[in-house]
Amino acid sequence: MTRLRPGDWLMIAAGLAATVATTAAQWGRAAPTLAQVRLDGRIVAEIPLNGTHRVAIAGALAAQGETVIEVEPGRARVAADPGPRQYCVHQGWLTRAGAVAVCAPSHISLQLAGPDSAQDTVAF
């Protein structure tokens, strides 16, 4: 049998601590409080996640239609977008602070922000 030496135990403990700490940071992330809608990187709408709202935004593809953001308590989604591939719509409801749905063809992004958001902005 392998006999573990004191330093081995220390390393295993440190590795375990790092794993537990990162896991806890995931679970303990604060609930989102605000949906931020950006057009060309600038915030065009900030919607608190405490009620039900529907906001239509005219993005870069305004000729084909508007992008519709839907907010319910604690979550938000892109309900409709004129983009050809619908990635941001298929992403569905965003529920975690920091989560982002990007409608690239429309130049619109939807991001949930918490009371202590890990980042101020996202640049692409």
């Binding site: 030496r5 081995d8 390393m11 990162t22 982002v100």
Partner: protein, 171 residues
């Protein structure tokens, strides 16, 4: 008269080549194992690196590791592909940590502890490179618990395997 210059390989050259061949074989076998997530890999070649480290020291281990990354990626057709740079970064960061730990006696820190430290250094370096270059978004760090858990498990397992191989074939 032959114009060919014969370079006679030293015993150390042959030894390094043997170990490197074993490490390359280990990484090719591993490349055939499907992984649920890129980055979660057993790191079988690191068993060889640990054995070289214990028997012949850090310089030899570094040689085997570098040869493994370059020749292994050539054989897998990954040379200079993103996977190559990730492997190289992991190899460099784990070698750096193993080098720093060489100041500690093996009596106190054995193959298992060194293996765990190297595994975390490996995935840590790869995460930083991936964040800076391949996935420029902090969402990547959401996967950190998965990567760290894998590093812990595979680090311990590889360390135990290396320890057994070292003792079974003790000189």
């Amino acid at each position: 008269m032959s114009a060919v210059v014969d370079v006679e390989p030293s015993a150390r050259d042959r030894r390094l080549a043997r170990y490197a061949a074993a490490a390359i074989a280990a990484s090719l076998i591993e490349a055939a194992i499907p992984s649920p997530l890129p980055g979660v890999k057993p790191g079988l070649a690191n068993i060889v690196i640990l054995i070289v480290l214990a028997r012949h020291g850090w310089r030899d281990a570094a040689w085997v590791s570098v040869l493994r990354v370059i020749a292994g990626s050539l054989l897998a057709g990954q040379f200079l592909a993103p996977g190559f740079f990730l492997a190289a970064t992991g190899a460099v960061t784990s070698l750096a940590v193993l080098g720093a730990l060489q100041t500690l006696p093996w009596r106190w820190l054995g193959p298992v502890g060194r293996s765990v430290a190297a595994a975390f250094a490996h995935i840590g370096g790869q995460l930083v490179l991936a964040r800076l270059w391949l996935v420029p978004h902090d969402g990547l760090f959401n996967l950190a618990p998965v990567f760290f858990a894998a590093a812990l498990v595979f680090g311990v397992v590889n360390g135990v395997v290396a320890d057994r191989l070292l003792r079974d074939n003790a000189a």
